[in-house]
Symmetry: D2
Amino acid sequence: MAKEKVVLAYSGGLDTSVAIAWLNNKGYDVIACCIDVGEGKDLEAIKQKGFDVGAVESITIDAKEEFAQDYALIALQGHTYYENKYPLVSALSRPLIVSKLVAVAKHYGATAIAHGCTGKGNDQVRFEVGIHALAPDMKIEDPIRDWHWSREEEIQYAQDNNIPVPINKESPYSIDENLWGRANECGILEDPWESAPEDAYDRTLAIEDTPDEPETIEITFEKGVPTFLNGEYYTLAEMIMKLDKIAGKHGIGRIDHIENRLVGIKSREVYECPAATVLIKAHKDLEDLTSERGLAHFKPVIEQKLSEVIYNGLWFSPLMPALTAFLKESQKNVNGVVRIKLFKGNAICEGRKSENSLYDKNLATYTSADEFDQEAAAGFIKLWGLPSQVYAQVQAKNKQDSHKNTANDGVKQ
Amino acid sequence: MAKEKVVLAYSGGLDTSVAIAWLNNKGYDVIACCIDVGEGKDLEAIKQKGFDVGAVESITIDAKEEFAQDYALIALQGHTYYENKYPLVSALSRPLIVSKLVAVAKHYGATAIAHGCTGKGNDQVRFEVGIHALAPDMKIEDPIRDWHWSREEEIQYAQDNNIPVPINKESPYSIDENLWGRANECGILEDPWESAPEDAYDRTLAIEDTPDEPETIEITFEKGVPTFLNGEYYTLAEMIMKLDKIAGKHGIGRIDHIENRLVGIKSREVYECPAATVLIKAHKDLEDLTSERGLAHFKPVIEQKLSEVIYNGLWFSPLMPALTAFLKESQKNVNGVVRIKLFKGNAICEGRKSENSLYDKNLATYTSADEFDQEAAAGFIKLWGLPSQVYAQVQAKNKQDSHKNTANDGVKQ
Amino acid sequence: MAKEKVVLAYSGGLDTSVAIAWLNNKGYDVIACCIDVGEGKDLEAIKQKGFDVGAVESITIDAKEEFAQDYALIALQGHTYYENKYPLVSALSRPLIVSKLVAVAKHYGATAIAHGCTGKGNDQVRFEVGIHALAPDMKIEDPIRDWHWSREEEIQYAQDNNIPVPINKESPYSIDENLWGRANECGILEDPWESAPEDAYDRTLAIEDTPDEPETIEITFEKGVPTFLNGEYYTLAEMIMKLDKIAGKHGIGRIDHIENRLVGIKSREVYECPAATVLIKAHKDLEDLTSERGLAHFKPVIEQKLSEVIYNGLWFSPLMPALTAFLKESQKNVNGVVRIKLFKGNAICEGRKSENSLYDKNLATYTSADEFDQEAAAGFIKLWGLPSQVYAQVQAKNKQDSHKNTANDGVKQ
Amino acid sequence: MAKEKVVLAYSGGLDTSVAIAWLNNKGYDVIACCIDVGEGKDLEAIKQKGFDVGAVESITIDAKEEFAQDYALIALQGHTYYENKYPLVSALSRPLIVSKLVAVAKHYGATAIAHGCTGKGNDQVRFEVGIHALAPDMKIEDPIRDWHWSREEEIQYAQDNNIPVPINKESPYSIDENLWGRANECGILEDPWESAPEDAYDRTLAIEDTPDEPETIEITFEKGVPTFLNGEYYTLAEMIMKLDKIAGKHGIGRIDHIENRLVGIKSREVYECPAATVLIKAHKDLEDLTSERGLAHFKPVIEQKLSEVIYNGLWFSPLMPALTAFLKESQKNVNGVVRIKLFKGNAICEGRKSENSLYDKNLATYTSADEFDQEAAAGFIKLWGLPSQVYAQVQAKNKQDSHKNTANDGVKQ
C-alpha cells in the first residue's frame, strides 16, 4: 500500500531536517517545501538538502512578490502595529506559507501537513488554524511539539538518522525573518531588564555606526501603494528590499517589545523592520493630508482589529475580507509624495504633497487670504457645547435645590 | 451704577493687551488674569502690564504643579496622542485655565469671561465650551473673533489706546506652550511640502547639534506616576521640566503633524514635546511588562476616546470622570523602573523591571527551565480555530453541492 | 437678465408652499421638486399645487424602489439603531432626497437649493451637509429658519401671497415618514412623562386592537437581502410595504425614544417601524446562524458607526463607502429562511435554516452523536486563563512579600 | 496520612452526587458546597443529600442578595446583552460561585476544587479560569469531563456506589437558572428550525395565556439601582424576584438565541429573563433622559466589552475593575422614575421623569416657549460639514483637471 504523504514546511535547518527523519519513521513519505518570503535563503541548497535528508520530493517556491503584494501591503496600509508596537513580521508570512503548503498538499494528494513550530509560540496557532481554515480535514503533524526532546536528544536522533548537525557554535537566539522584518527572541533577551546586545541585530546599524549625514528620500504612493522611490519605479517587493537596506544603514526600525502572546504568556522580542517603519510612517503622513476626518478617525479601529486578527492567526477567517474591503476603500485618495529624512535612527517626514490634499491653505491660513468663516465658529461652539452646558445647568439647579431644602429644613425646626 | 466685570485670560502680549482696552471701551471693568502653566513667563511683569494697559485688577496664578498633577498626568497615563501623533499640548492647558478663570470670576462677581482666541482654531471651542460647562450662565467675550481687524488696524487701535506695541520684528509663527510641550503654526509651516525650518523649534536641538554620546536615564513609576529620575525624587512638574531639558538636548520630541481641527479644517502644526515623548514611551514600556493582556488590549480604546474628548474641548463633560475612573484603575500595578537611552533624537527603552512584572521567565524560556504546558497548546488551537474551521467545512460542502448540482444539470440535459 | 433658479424640496404642505412665495419674492425662479420615498402622497396633486402657488417648474419623482435598495437596505443589513433604539427613519431618506435635488439643480442650471427644515432639528444638517458634499459650491436657502415667523405671521403671509391655508384643525404633531417608518414629535409628546396617546400612531394598531390569533410568516434572505415572503417574491420596496401592513396590524414596531439630537438637545420622538422591526430582527437571527464568530463580534462596531454617520448627516462623506464595503462583504453568507411569529406587538423568531448555517448539531449536541473534542477544552482553558492566573500569582507573591516585610519589621523592633 | 480535601460545587442532582463518589474513589475527602443564587432550591434537603452520598462535610450558602448586588447589578447597569441578545444568566453566577468555593477551600484547607460542568460548554471555562484567578495554585477536578461515561455507565456507577437514581422520566433539557434568569438547551432545541415548545419555558407564560389587561408599574432608580417598585422599597434580590413573577405572568423575557460559545461552537439556547428584560429596558430609558450625549454614546463600548469579559469567564481579570469603575461613574445621575406597561409579552416604557433630566422642554419645543438659538445652527452646519465639503471640492477639481487633460490630449493628437 502506498504510504501517506505529508508536506513539511522546510527551512533547511536542523529542526525541520530532523523532522523529515521523524516523519519518515512515523511512516510518511515527506514532501519538503521551502517557501522564500525574503529571508535571503539559498533555495537550491535547501532543495538539495531536503532530498539528502530523506524527503521523497523537495520543492522551493519564491513567494517574495506575492508576500509583498498580498500580505505586507495590508500591514502597510493598515498600520498594523500589534500592541501599538510590533509591525507583524512572522504573523504576516504564516498565512502565505500555509496557503502554499495546502496547495502543494492538494497537488500531491498529501493527507497531512507538518510544521516545525514549538509548542509555546504563536506560530503553531497560525499554522494550524490557517491549515484548517483552508483544508478543514487535513491532518496536522507538529514534530517539535510532539517529540519532547532536549537539545542533546535531538542531536543524537539526528546522528542516528544521518542528518548533518551544524558544527559551529549555535546562536543563542531564535530568529524568524522575511521581507517585512526580522524577529529575534531567547538567550539574553529573556531578561527584560537587560539591554539587547548588538549581536541581536542584523538588518540595522547601531546609531553609533550610522552615517553622520542625513539622507533624504521621496516615496510616491498611488492608492496607498508605494510605487516610486526617488522617482524610480519598484515593484513592492523590490521597494521593501531597497528601503530595508537604506533605512537599516541609518539605524531605523529597531523595536524592543514585551508582548502578550496569544498563548497566554508575555515574551520579550526584538524586531528589526527598517522598511516597514519608514513606509508606514510615510503612508500615515500622506493619509493625514488626504484622508477626510471621519474616515481618518475611524480607520484606527479597523487597524487595531486587523492587527489583532493577523497576530492571532485568523487571516483566513471571514472577518478578514470584510476588514480589507474597508481598507481598500480607504486608500482611493492616498496619492502623493512624502519626503523623508533618514538620520541616526530617525525617519522624519518633512514634507508631503498630493493632488488629493485636503489641506486648504486658504482655510488654514492666518494671513489675509483667509476664507474661513469665523462667524460660523460661534454657532458651532454653541451647539457643540450645548449638551454639557445643559448638564451643568441641571447640576447647578439641583445643588441649589438641595441647599434650599437643607435651609428650609433648618428653618422648620 | 457699578460696571460689569469681565475676567480676561491675559498673556501680556499685544492681542490680549488690546483686548483690555477693547473691553474697557465696551463698558467693562477688566480683571486681567495670567495663569502660568509652564511657559516660563515673567509673571510679575505681566501683572504690572495688566494694570498699565487698563485692568482694574491684575492677577497671576502659578498653576504648574496643578497642571502637571491633574492634567498632564492624564495625558501621560492615557498615552493621549490625538490622531496617533499629537500629545495634546494646548488642549491640556485650556481646561485648567478655564477652571481658574471661572473661579476668579465667581470670586470677583464678574458676569463675563473673555479670551483671546481667534475664530478658526480649536482653542475658542475649548474655552467657551469649558466655561459654559462650569458656569452655564456666564457671558463670554471673544474680542479677537469680534473685532475683525487687520494687523494694521489692531496696531492703530493699540496706539490710540496707549497700548505699547512691540518694536522688534514679529515672529511669523503662532506659538502656544506649557510644561507638556510647545505648539507652533503659521508662516512657512502653512505649506505642508516645506520642511519646518530650524527657527520653528525652541525646546529641542536639531539632531545634527545633539551630543555624540548617548545618555542613559532611569525613570521610576509608582502607580503610573513618574516619581524618581535616576534615583532622585521630583514632583511631577519638576520631573517634566527636568526631562524636557535633558531630552530636548538630545533632539527628542519633535512632531510635524497635518491635523484635523475640530472646526473642520486641516492645519499643519509643529510640536516639541521632549518630556512627554520620553515619559509616555517609558510608561507604555512599563505597562507592557505589568498590565494583564485583557486590560492592555482594551486600554487603547479608552486612550483614543480620552484624546478625542480632550482635543475636542469636552474636558468638563460627564464622560471625562468615567474615562479617568477607568484610567486610574488601570494604573494600580504600573510600578517599576524603565531604563532609557537618549541619543540623537531617539528615546530607546532598553530595560524595564517591576515587582508587578507579569513576564515569567519560566513560562517564556526555551531553556530547560520551561514550565509552559505545551500539551495545552494543542487543545487551545483546536478550539481557537474551530469557528473558522467549521466555516471552511460548510463552504467546502456548499461548493461541492453546487458542483454536483451543476453536474447533475449537465447530465439531465 | 434671467433670474437665478432655486430647486425647492417641495412637500405640498403649507410651509413649503409659503416657501415658494418667499423664494419668488427673494427674486428666484422656483423649481418645486417632490420626491416620493413612500409617504403615500398624491404626487399629481402636489405637482399641480406647486405650479398653482408659483413655481416655474414642478417635478415629482417616485424614488421608492431606489430608497429601498440603496438606503433602507443598508439600515436593514447594518441593524442601524441610533442609540440602540431608533432605526433611522428621516435620516435615511435625506441623502436620497438631497441627491435628487442636486441632480435636478444641475439639470436645470439652478444656483441654489432650498429646503423646509426648521432651525433646531437634525434634518437641516443632513440637507445642507449633504448638498455641500455633492455640490460644494451650491447656494442653500432655508426659508423656515430665516423668516422667523410665528404661525400667525406665516398664515398672514400665505394669504397675502394667495397660498391656500388648510382649514381643518391642525395636527399638534410634526410628522415625517417614508417606507422605512414614521417619525412623530411635538404636542403632548414634549412631556416625556406623558404616555404617547393613540392618535400619535398611524401605521400600527394598539396591542389591545390586534388580532387574537398569531400570524406566522417566513422570510427568505439572499446575501442579506429579503427576497421572498411566504414563498412569494417581492422587490425590496414591495416587501417593506407588504410587511409594514402585516406587522402594523399586529401592533409591531412602536418606539418611544428620548434621543440626543446632533444639534445638542434631547428630544422625545415616537416612531413606528413595523417592517423595519421585523426585517432587522429576522436578519439578525439569520446572521446568528450563518456568521462566523469573529465577524459577528466585530460587525456591531461597524453598525454603531454606520448609524452615527447616517444620523449625523454624513452619508456622502468618504467614510460611508468604506463602511458599506465592509457591510457588503459581511452579507455573502446571509442566505436562508427565518420563521417569525407576529403576535400582540411581538415579532418572535421561532426557527431559522440556511445552507450556510454554521450551527453543527454534531458539535453542539449532548447526545451520543457528539463529535466535539472535550479533551481539547482542558488545554484551551489553561491558555485562555493563563494571563489572569499569572497576574494572580504575582499579586499573591507581592502580598506575601509585603506581609513578610511587615513581619520582619516587627521582629527587628 | 490525612486525605486531601476537595470542595465540590454541589447541586444535589445526579451528576454531582455521582461526582462525590468518584472523588471519594479518587482518594479525596469531599466537601459538598451548594450555593443558592436564586434557583429556588431546598437547601436543607441538598445539604442532607450531600452527607448521604458520601461527603465529609456539606455546606449551603444563601448568596441571593450578594448575587443581586454584586453581579446582577452590573448586568443591569451595563445592559450586558451578549451578542446583543443574551443577558448573561449562567455567566453571571459562575464568578460568585467560584469565589465561594475558593473561600470554603481556603477555610477547610482543601487542595482542590471540583465542578460538574461538561467539556463542551462555557461554564467549565468560567469555573476553571475563575478558580485560578483567585487561587492560582489550586488543583481542579472536572469529573464529568474526565469520566467519559454514557448515561447508562453513569447510572451503573451510581448504583454501584449507592447513589440514588431519580426514577421519573428525565427531562430532555439541560437547565441552569438563577435570580437573573433561566437558561435551557438540548433536546428538540438542538434543531434551530424547530420552534421551542412550551415545555421549554418555566418562568414565563405563553402570550396566549397572559392576562388581557395590561399592568402598569413604576420603577424608581437611585444612582442606577432600582429601589422602589410602585412606591414600595425592595432590596435588589427581592425586586428581581418580585418583577420576575409580575413580568413572567405577562409573557415577558423569552429569548431564543443561536449563540457563539467561547469554546468555538454555535449552540441554540432558550432563555427566560422576565425581570432582567424589564429592568434593563427601564434603566436604558432613564439613561436616555439623564445621561449626557457624550457619555451615552460611549457607554455602549464599555457595555459590549463587559458582556464579552463576563461571558468569556474573565470576571476576575484586572480589566473588570477598570470597566466597573467606568460603569459606576456613569450611574451618578441615573435617578428617577420610569413607568412601564406590561402587556402580552411587551414591556413598554411609557413615561420617565427625573430631577436629573437633561431633556429641556424650552430647548426642544416648537412652541413660542422656544429658547433654542436657531441662528447658531447655521454656523454649526457649516463647520460640521466642512471636511466633506472640502473633500468634494478637491474631488471635483481633480475630475475637472482629468477631463481637461483628456481633452488636451485629444487636441494634441
